[in-house]
């Protein structure tokens, strides 16, 4: 049976059906866990359909597994789904992280399980929806939808009393710019009469969205701001640390980065190529600051989750840097690094959650000497650390290397200094991760491990972590499996945004003068 034309719908709606199913099932024993595991595993298997049936030879701009149906006649909103080299592996990644998230929450979430897993599945629906929607309106629906389950997850299952505050902060940070995003989208619709992304991209390439460059600028900023807050880009990261500190492990794994970075690549770059290119120097500068700032702050934290939060800021800034260089290496590396950060960061947060389950604290100062007691956990921590700090032959190295080499090739001013500054992140990340490793696992036993027995990994935890370790190696040694699809996208963006930059600028300026003159 050929399911190519409905596969995306299935991927989005299986978790939704799963959420409904869980809502109906009785919350008894481990029913919720098993049901959620079954649903997420099934969804993951569905996402695996994509890489195996993807046509790698087809050029970028052609969407595959497309489904394009009329939905609302006026305004014209279509149910338009499709994936390309940018989104395909992101779907698989999201599919993979979900069952691992269920496995890691198995014991950690022991009350209100139904609420937790239903929200968790809804969150997955929203993320999948974001990655496949090619209609701005449909996309926006999923974008907004992704806010709510996460906010409730944080406020309900947060770790400390500050969870409410963290949830509100998260919601406000995400919601206010999203309102601007909506206005900008409506403006785009008002100008062009379509929400359809491929059409909008064509119009943008012909400079036919709007003759007014200032209006385009404002609309593009509406898009960019909403996405930048959600990544987050320095200094818009005010929500990140609190949200990461409070959110349960499974939620943190999908909290930051992916959807917003994807949205920039998909929407900002397609609809506002000119503006995205013009604002790139600013974004690059902010990204470089974010790398250094996040890494330095991670160096002085005594709370493991805060350390991980600032480390996240640093690593996401790497990706922002890569995509805004508009070089092939930067774009490819940036997109690849979204995947890498998903699995390495995910593994790191899972491991932190394991420690918390055992010892009930994230305070580094209470740990120490765990290597003597938990050989498997220390092994996995060490491997994950190596992945995060970019040891060659593991996944992140490929991404970071491409990003930084792309940054060195970028056409913008001060590229040498900016690249050098960004590369200090390589030193700093080693410093804070090695410090963490030493303080938690080496030297004498700390106060907590002395008081609490703890136990090494059980089978379920082994099952949740080893697939990621296998991926570290596979993605470090054979990145072409993934970059094959990504590269078509990176090359196309590079060609579209970068090469005609100078003539386009002239064209737009002349258009502006003509319209100005006509008025």
């Amino acid at each position: 049976m050929n399911i190519d034309h409905i596969i995306l719908t299935l991927i989005v709606f299986v978790p939704l059906a799963g959420a409904l199913l869980l809502a109906l099932l009785p919350d008894r024993g481990k029913t919720m866990q098993w049901a959620a595991l079954a649903v997420t595993l099934f969804t993951f298997l569905l996402t695996l359909h994509l890489p195996f049936h993807y046509s790698y030879a087809s050029p970028s701009g052609v969407f595959q597994f497309e489904q394009n149906l009329p939905w609302i006649a006026s305004p014209v909103i279509r149910y338009h789904l499709g994936v390309d080299g940018l989104s395909m592996w992101l779907m698989v990644l999201t599919g993979l992280l979900a069952p691992l998230g269920v496995l890691i929450s198995w014991r950690a979430i022991d009350s209100r399980k139904k609420l937790f897993y239903v929200l968790f599945l809804l969150q997955q629906v929203a993320m999948m929806g974001i990655f496949v929607s090619l209609d701005l309106f449909l996309y926006y629906a999923f974008w907004e939808m992704s806010l709510i389950p996460m906010a409730i997850l944080i406020s309900t299952f947060g770790r400390t009393k500050r969870r409410r505050l963290a949830a509100i902060k998260y919601f406000l940070y995400a919601f206010i710019p999203s309102a601007l995003l909506l206005v900008a989208m409506l403006w785009v619709y008002a100008k062009t009469g379509t929400f359809d992304l491929p059409k909008l991209a064509d119009l943008a390439a012909q400079h036919a969205i709007s003759p007014s460059s200032s209006a385009l600028w404002i609309a593009s900023l509406g898009f960019l701001l909403a996405f930048s807050v959600k990544i987050p880009v320095f200094p818009l990261h005010g929500w990140l640390v609190d949200a990461i500190c409070e959110a349960p492990t499974a939620a943190v794994m999908v909290l930051a980065g992916k959807t917003a970075l994807y949205s920039i690549l998909r929407f900002s770059f397609a609809i506002f190529p000119e503006q995205s290119h013009r604002i790139a120097p600013l974004m690059i500068a902010l990204a470089v600051i974010g790398i250094v700032y996040g890494s330095l702050l991670a160096l002085v934290q005594n709370d493991l989750k805060q350390l991980a939060a600032y480390s996240t800021l640093g690593h996401l800034s790497f990706i922002t840097l890569g995509i805004f260089t508009f070089t092939i290496a930067g774009l490819d590396g940036g997109i690849y690094q979204i995947l890498n950060h998903g699995i390495s960061g995910g593994a790191f947060f899972m491991l932190l959650g394991l420690l918390y389950e055992r010892y009930g604290t994230y305070d580094i100062r209470e740990y120490g000497g765990l290597a003597q007691k938990l050989p498997w956990i220390v092994t996995l921590y060490a491997i994950t650390t190596l992945s995060i700090i970019g040891l060659p032959m593991l996944n992140s190295f490929v991404g970071e290397f491409l990003i930084l080499s792309g940054s060195m090739q970028s056409p913008f001013a001060h590229r040498h200094i900016l690249t050098a500054l960004a590369t200090t992140g390589v030193i700093l990340s080693a410093a804070y991760m090695m410090r963490m490793l030493q303080r938690v696992f080496y030297c004498d036993l700390g106060s907590k491990p002395q008081a609490v027995a703890g136990w090494d990994l059980d089978t379920r935890e082994h099952l949740a972590l080893w697939p990621l370790v296998a991926l570290f190696l596979a993605m470090g040694l054979a990145p072409s499996i993934w970059t094959r699809a990504i590269d078509t996208y990176g090359t196309a963006v590079n060609a579209a945004v970068l090469s005609p930059a100078t003539p386009t600028t002239l064209q737009v300026t002349s258009l502006q003068t003509t319209t100005g003159g006509a008025r």
Binding site: V183, L186, V300, T423
Partner: protein, 657 residues
Amino acid sequence: MNPMPTSYLWFIPLLPFAGFLINGTLGRKLPRTTVSAVALFFTALPAALVAWLWATMCSAGASGVIETISRPWIAITDFTVDFTLTVDHLTLIMLTVVTGVGFLIHIYSVGYMAHEEGYWRFFAYLNLFMFFMSVLVLASNFLLLFVGWEGVGLASYLLIGFYFKKKSAADAGKKAFIVNRIGDFGFLLAMFLLIVHFGSLSFSQVFDTVAQHPGWQAQGAHFLPAICLLLILGAAGKSAQIPLYIWLPDAMEGPTPVSALIHAATMVTAGVYMVARCHVLFNSSPLALSVVATIGAATAIFAASIGMVQHDIKRVLAYSTISQLGYMFLACGVGAYAAGIFHLLTHAFFKALLFLAAGSVIHALSGEQDMRKMGGLRTRTPITFWTMSAGVFAIAGIPPFAGFFSKDEILYRAFTSPNPLHIALWLVGLLTAGMTSFYMFRLWFKTFFGESRIDQHGDGQHSVHESSWIMLLPLVILAILSVVGGWVGIPAALGGNNAFEHFLDPVFSNPAAEAAVSTTGHGLELILAAISVLVAALGFCFAYVFYYKKPGTANAIAQRNRPAYAILSNKYWVDEFYNIYLVTPLLMFTRGIMELIFERGVVNGSGRAAGTTVRGFAWLTRAQISGNIRSYAGWLAIGAAVVMAVMIFGSSLWAHL
């Protein structure tokens, strides 16, 4: 013998990796004999393969370079990096050192580590190191070299911190890794620049391009010196040169075989190897070469001066390693790459020997490393004494031991080099040779001669014993190599034919330098050799008087020159300097300005301000919420009208903004 199929090259790194996987996963449950059998087997086979490789490459008509088929690693539009291994004569020398000395040290470790906890872990890491080191020397491009480069750093980190319960060991491992990362920072930037300017990281492509553009130097292409200087930063990290040498002395926290293998014979020479490998790049930048030579000479004398006053036997050897690496850098910096690699080879023999012999001494004394508590061990550990003596004479530069020929070649080449600083470089090298001889004989006398100063309490005196044969066998082999190892490179002036240099000619061929050398004749070379032997003998005499004839003299001199002695014994306070002026201010700035003021104040403060504003709005809104459906409808209508207005008149509104 049949030539070796090129695909077998892959086995040289992959066999130790298999050993790592076996011992790393199953080792905990395996008996010790199995663990050591696995580790030895998977290092002996690559050594045998290298022997086969020698036969293949030295057979008549063999090509100077062997390369495996490429397998793509990173492949994106406009940029590819392959997994390709390549062997030329330089790699062959390096492989011999790595697999040969590596295998000997594996044998030694079986005896040395016999009573240690975590035996399997040790051998797993050691095999992992062999894997990465082989990758490093076999790499055919910069990125693959970097894989090995970072990988050996990882193995070094794991092995320095082998006794992870000890805080000093865990600290030392961390320090080594981070300081090396500072060097890697330079290496990475150099690679980014290479990609920008050459579009490739393959050695052959980059070097051919440079060779095809001899005009670049004249045109003042500034990227070549920049790349070289960044590579020097990388090399200085890995090879423990100024200003990044600080991790190596601390690395002595690791078990002694690790110090011998990683922190003396192989890994720390990777920087020298890299500079030699990139000689085409460096030759194109006289500035970079001068920097290499200056760093090398400065490090050589600086580390030697510290080494003269250390009391810990391993620390003396650590500073001596730094100093000898300085010689190798000096050689590369004056364009005498072959001499640098020659010294790398002989140094691998005698320094591995010295460390292993020191380990045997430490073993005999149940862990004592302080030379003030040794003495008189000559008769109790005779084989250790005789083998270590070979090492001491070799490093001190006494003919005809190995170190004499290689060191002398470097000094001679420094003296005759076209570098404007050449006399100064030579003088520093010569002075260092005297200091080396002094501190090595100091170690020799303090350890093996005079009265025994071993702690009397307990059964320490009783249990002093010669090591087992499994430890002594590698010592004997290395001792023989320390004696005869230099004979492969006897210069023409001393009746040899400089076979070693000619062997490397296909790699380093540089007609200009050769012409410069051949004009000077043998007379000068002989005079210089005589001077350096004299200086070495002088070092011996001082050590003899200070530590054998009149043991109190050294202390008396130290008492008289307190400030000088304090500077040396505190290692010029470099660690403290870095801490006070770099690390602490950075952390204080981060905690004070960035975290307290910016993060708490601006970033979170603005969030809080936004929250308050929204709450204010909410209060306003609540005032409007009357519960009246009609008023809701009214608000909705107004909202819709605003959106409509924006849509219709939006463009004109924005156009005037």
